[in-house]
């Protein structure tokens, strides 16, 4: 479903006199249908950088990121923007750590929009969004409110609902349970395992050992790259 070959990423900081920060090099990661691979390693090892590169949010500097999109392998590292957008819409989902709030849009619509842009009728989209939010313990009285004023945990659950609702064949999860209590962690573990049972390929970053043990089929260790001179 997803495979990287010799993926490398170095940040060049022009505002710091062109300082080079090598973060990833020679990454070969492969994830199959129904498999959950958890990226492991200390802070600064490049877990989030790898995740963002897989999504095309960071530009890979070398190597390939092959994604199976409608049966065809597409290299996210080289694809044109509109192809990357199509892959994100139909194949590759991403749950970031933080919700980027769109002003004025209600919680229900934020989640339902994910289905509407994929051609689901508005009523059905709103019904399914409402049901998923309830499952994540976001009570119905909050559905009509924009999530800007929600707590960190509530925002993360809105973000999870938004990420899971479209049932992408590949999902990237960046700390999906970081600010959740035990009950909600259990809901997320169940959702991840259901997605795996459907055949979803998952790459996750997850510091919580309990959640990691419950979802991971395999760990993919990363270690900090040596500083270049």
């Amino acid at each position: 479903m997803l495979r990287t070959e010799g993926l490398a990423k170095t940040f060049t900081l022009h505002l710091r006199g062109g300082m080079q920060l090598p973060v990833l090099s020679g990454i070969d990661l492969a994830v199959s249908t129904g498999e959950c691979v958890v990226l492991s390693g200390p802070s600064g090892a490049g877990k989030s950088t790898l995740m963002r590169s897989l999504y095309g949010n960071y530009r890979a500097e070398a190597g390939h990121i092959w994604i199976r999109h409608h049966g065809e392998m597409i290299d996210i590292a080289a694809a044109e923007p509109r192809i990357v957008l199509a892959v994100r819409r139909e194949t590759l989902g991403y749950v970031s750590q933080f919700l980027r709030v769109v002003p004025r849009v209600s919680t229900l619509d934020i989640v339902a929009d994910e289905l509407i842009t994929r051609g689901v009728a508005q009523d059905e989209a709103r019904d399914r969004a409402g049901a998923l939010l309830l499952r994540l313990n976001i009570p119905r009285r909050l559905h009509s409110i924009p999530p800007a004023t929600f707590s960190g945990g509530e925002q993360q659950r809105v973000n999870l609902a938004r990420g899971f609702i479209a049932a992408h064949p590949i999902l990237l999860l960046d700390e999906p349970t970081a600010s959740l209590d035990a009950d909600n962690r259990a809901v997320v573990i169940a959702m991840v395992n259901e997605a795996k049972a459907r055949g979803t390929a998952i790459v996750a970053i997850c510091h919580d050992a309990e959640v990691r043990d419950a979802i991971a089929d395999r760990l993919f260790p990363l270690s900090p790259t040596q500083e270049a001179a």
Binding site: T12, L15, R52, G56, Y58, R82, V84, V102, P103, R104
Partner: protein, 255 residues
């Protein structure tokens, strides 16, 4: 096939290079933001792309609904005017440039429909009211003159006037410039929703990176008349490659 395609655009204002070998591709349904500081050539590029200003060199091609490409700057003036009244729309920073201030709000919207050949008064009025509602202007203001409207309302009226004919391509020059932040948020959400629902392609000039992030699929960063970086909006903003883009992104105040 691209909707709009430009190659080698150059334009000098005396010693100033306003455009220096600029290339642009815009695909149907795509929103492209042109960002950069004042004087970087953003608005000049918008004016050249929309045929309002001729370049010294380079070509802009527009693909019509039949798949035929037209050289925008070689078109006869009447054909270009027709294009601006039908397939295209232009949203100015100052809505007064586009609106007729001595004609009612409904008239401002209905006029675009009449220019396209609509003749039934009842239909035109009904559609004008429908569009005023879509841009969140109360239907009972339909007969009021625009000069009784606030800045935010004028901008929304301009958007209704522009979108009523369902253009395929809209040019926007700082559509939220000069508005209060709360009014801006409402307008941005409105533009975002309407553009997505109608599948409109847009070229949006803005100096506000947050506006670009919210509305655009793709970004082109301009500095001194050149496009120095282009790519997916979130990629350019989260992982800027060019020194100038890094400066631009790091200079934004976090609210």
């Amino acid at each position: 096939m691209t909707l709009l395609r430009a190659r080698g655009l150059s334009l000098r204002f005396k010693a100033i290079r306003a455009l220096d070998d600029v290339a642009v591709d815009l695909w149907p349904g795509e929103v492209l933001a042109i960002v950069g500081e004042s004087g970087s050539g953003k608005t000049t590029l918008l004016n050249v792309l929309s045929g309002r200003m001729a370049p010294d060199a380079g070509t802009v091609w527009y693909t019509d609904p039949e798949g035929q490409e037209h050289d925008v700057h070689a078109m006869p003036a009447p054909a270009l005017r027709t294009l601006h009244r039908s397939d295209w729309g232009f949203v100015h920073q100052d809505p007064r440039q586009n609106l007729r201030m001595n004609v009612s709000a409904g008239g401002n919207v209905g006029e675009r429909l009449m220019a396209r050949g609509a003749r039934n008064y009842g239909d035109i009025r009904a559609e004008a009211i429908d569009w005023l509602t879509q841009v969140e202007i109360d239907a009972n203001r339909v007969d009021d003159l625009p000069r009784t409207f606030s800045g935010g309302m004028l901008q929304r009226l301009q958007i209704a006037r522009t979108l009523v004919t369902h253009p395929r391509l809209v040019f926007m020059d700082e559509p939220t410039g000069g508005l209060d932040v709360s009014v801006q948020a409402r307008l941005l959400d409105l533009i975002r929703t309407l553009v997505a629902r109608l599948g409109i392609a847009a070229v949006l000039v803005t100096h506000d990176i947050a506006v670009a992030r919210l509305l655009a699929h793709r970004i082109a960063v301009m500095q001194r008349g050149r496009v120095v970086e282009t790519g997916l909006t979130d990629q350019v903003l989260d992982d800027p490659q060019h020194a100038y883009t890094q400066l631009l992104v790091s200079s934004v105040l976090q609210a």
